[in-house]
């Protein structure tokens, strides 16, 4: 499992719901590449085409609220997000993201202290964010043990395959 990333921040507000992450009108798409092209279209359709690989999505509270759609973390992964950082996550989004191997970090106030476009160095296991430009280090909550075990396996699918003896 890759646990450190360097990527550019895209900063969003509170209560970014799954309709904004992935609008309902695209729900019948199943190709991850096509899904990624519409990521965050409900916020700004310019985000996905300009998103750089390993970029960091950084938001306020209750990120991923609303519908249970797994398209939301699929879209973020396919767009190239390495990690999502927020003040808090909605429950279903949290499970979906971890199950698909998308790391999430919970960090109070990071969305107010970091600006879109700043380069960040993220350490998933240590739960740290380093702002390259200023050297400032922000501390996040550590990811729970159960979630780590899923992420380390590369998501719930490889974990289940192992359990099935495949």
């Amino acid at each position: 499992m890759i646990t450190t990333f360097v990527g550019k921040a895209v900063v969003l507000s509170n209560n970014i719901d799954t309709d904004q992450i992935y609008p309902g009108r695209y729900l019948s798409l199943i190709d991850p590449k096509e899904i990624g092209a519409h990521c965050l279209e409900g916020v700004d359709s310019a985000i996905s085409p300009n998103f750089e690989k390993n970029g960091v999505v950084l938001a306020g509270s209750n990120f991923g609220c609303g519908s249970s759609r797994e398209h939301a973390p699929i879209a973020l992964l396919s767009m190239g997000a390495s990690v999502v950082i927020a003040e808090s996550f909605s429950r279903i989004f949290f499970r979906n993201a971890i199950n698909l191997g998308l790391p999430l970090l919970t960090c109070k106030g990071a969305n107010k202290r970091i600006r879109s476009g700043q380069m960040l160095e993220i350490d998933i296991m240590q739960g740290t964010i380093r702002v390259v430009e200023t050297g400032e280090i922000l501390l996040c909550d550590k990811i729970g043990e159960h979630a780590i075990s899923i992420l380390e396996a590369g998501g719930i699918k490889p974990l289940m395959r192992k359990r099935m003896g495949l």
């Binding site: 019948s28 798409l29 797994e70 699918k157």
Partner: protein, 417 residues
């Protein structure tokens, strides 16, 4: 322990559970809707061939019923094939309705049962004293494989609602009021136990509205101790054995909130957030282009009855439309028997067949840029019903009816004597 904790403990094969503990619980019923062909793909990627129990899984085709695109038709076709191959005992095709309504009517949702569905509004089933929670496609695939799922035992908060509001103020108004105070992140990851004199007298339909909207506060699940009205209903429809759970006397909630709804006015959530709630007096005169009565929140017999009471014998003004979609075929039949659908159609309503309709912006009443829809459904996020430049106002079915009748937001109490 709380009744919710007892349900989790029982399904985890444990004598007790504590808040924050991770448990593996056996699932009583798993429902997958037609947005989630991915569940089948994930199941196969995990090495699955046959589901763990073909009497405990069902597909409900509701979000895209009947299929509006070739892609959604293909997704449903693949799901049908999987259901047939696995010999599912229950199957709800495009003629059934919204999952949270049809599962209730089929006697699947019963007190003490643990229900997961690939839909966030699975909190609805707390109305029957069941533990219901939404999961994603891949989470669901692990359920199909093993019959189990991991859960974090949630903190439980009490929302006590006292008093009986005046005529013209409905369960939707009550829950919008609560949501406006609790906010969209007011109960993230927590379980909500609704109590109090208001809840105690509510029947299944009203209870479903409150528990349904609990997820809009971020709740993992909702719960209401079954009353006689609920027990009479479940005993009539039950397709499985069940056992009611009870909270121990003196149980300490993580937090408690009390609301008195005696003097409540009709409530409206204004664009673009479910927790931007106003009393109707503050938003009257906002012009509306379309009304929608339907969905897992506002598509039951009681909802169409309250709308018909306002629209009976009257006509919608020109250039204003009202989309009505019964939540299930059973609801549609009940409304026809009572003549309600005929009355609404005579008033100028547009009827579509049971399903989620425009609630999530898939089809059957999508709105254009600059338009306003007043709706009995559950979400007003930007773009939820189509254009991100449209405005969605959440209200009770009666407020929707009164508003389309006037072409602007209108207090339904003006029409009730």
């Amino acid at each position: 322990m709380h009744a919710i904790e007892k349900i989790l403990a029982k399904h985890a094969g444990k004598a007790s559970v504590t808040t924050g503990e991770i448990i593996f619980a056996k699932i009583d019923f798993a429902e997958i809707n037609d947005l989630y062909l991915q569940t089948v793909y994930s199941f196969m990627e995990m090495g699955g061939t046959k589901v763990w129990d073909n009497n405990k899984v069902a597909f409900v085709f509701d979000h895209y019923a009947p299929a509006p695109t070739i892609q959604s038709a293909k997704n449903q076709a693949e799901m049908r094939e999987f259901a047939q191959k696995n010999a599912f005992k229950h199957h709800f095709d495009i003629n059934a309705g919204v999952c949270h309504q049809v599962m209730v009517e089929a006697g699947i949702i019963l007190p003490g049962r643990l229900i997961v569905a690939t839909d966030s509004h699975t909190t609805t089933h707390g109305a029957f004293g069941a533990f219901g929670t939404g999961v994603g496609a891949t989470d669901m695939a692990t359920v199909l494989l093993t019959g189990e799922l991991w859960f974090r035992v949630p903190e439980i908060v009490e929302i006590r609602i006292e008093g009986i509001p005046a005529k013209g103020v409905y369960p939707k108004d009550v829950v919008l009021h609560v949501l406006g105070k609790m906010k969209a992140d007011g109960a993230v990851y927590k379980a909500i136990d609704f109590t109090g004199s208001y809840v105690n007298q509510l029947g299944p339909a009203g209870r479903m509205v409150l528990c349904n909207m609990a997820v809009e506060m971020g709740a993992k699940t909702a719960y209401m101790q079954p009353n006689k009205l609920v027990m009479d209903y479940v005993e009539r429809v039950a397709a499985y054995p069940f056992e009611v759970s009870y909270t121990d006397p003196g149980y300490l909630y993580e937090q408690g909130y009390t609301f008195d709804v005696t003097h409540l006015s009709p409530q409206i959530a204004i664009p673009h957030s479910v927790d931007r709630v106003r009393s109707i007096e503050d938003v009257e005169n906002v012009k509306v282009n379309q009304g929608f009565i339907g969905s897992c929140t506002g598509g039951r017999l009681e909802d169409f009855e309250s709308a018909a009471n306002i629209l009976r014998g009257k006509k919608l003004p020109p250039f204003v439309r009202l989309v009505i979609i019964p939540a299930s075929t059973k609801v549609l039949e009940q409304c026809m028997e009572k003549g309600i659908l005929q009355e609404l159609i005579q008033s100028g309503a547009t009827l579509s067949t049971p399903g989620c309709g425009p609630c999530l912006g898939a089809h059957e009443g999508i709105i254009a840029p600059g338009e306003v829809c007043i709706t009995a459904s559950n979400r007003n996020f930007p773009g939820r019903m189509g254009s991100t430049d449209a405005g969605i106002y959440l209200a009770s079915p009666a407020t929707v009816a009164a508003s389309v009748l006037n072409g602007h937001i209108t207090d339904p109490r003006n029409y009730l004597t």
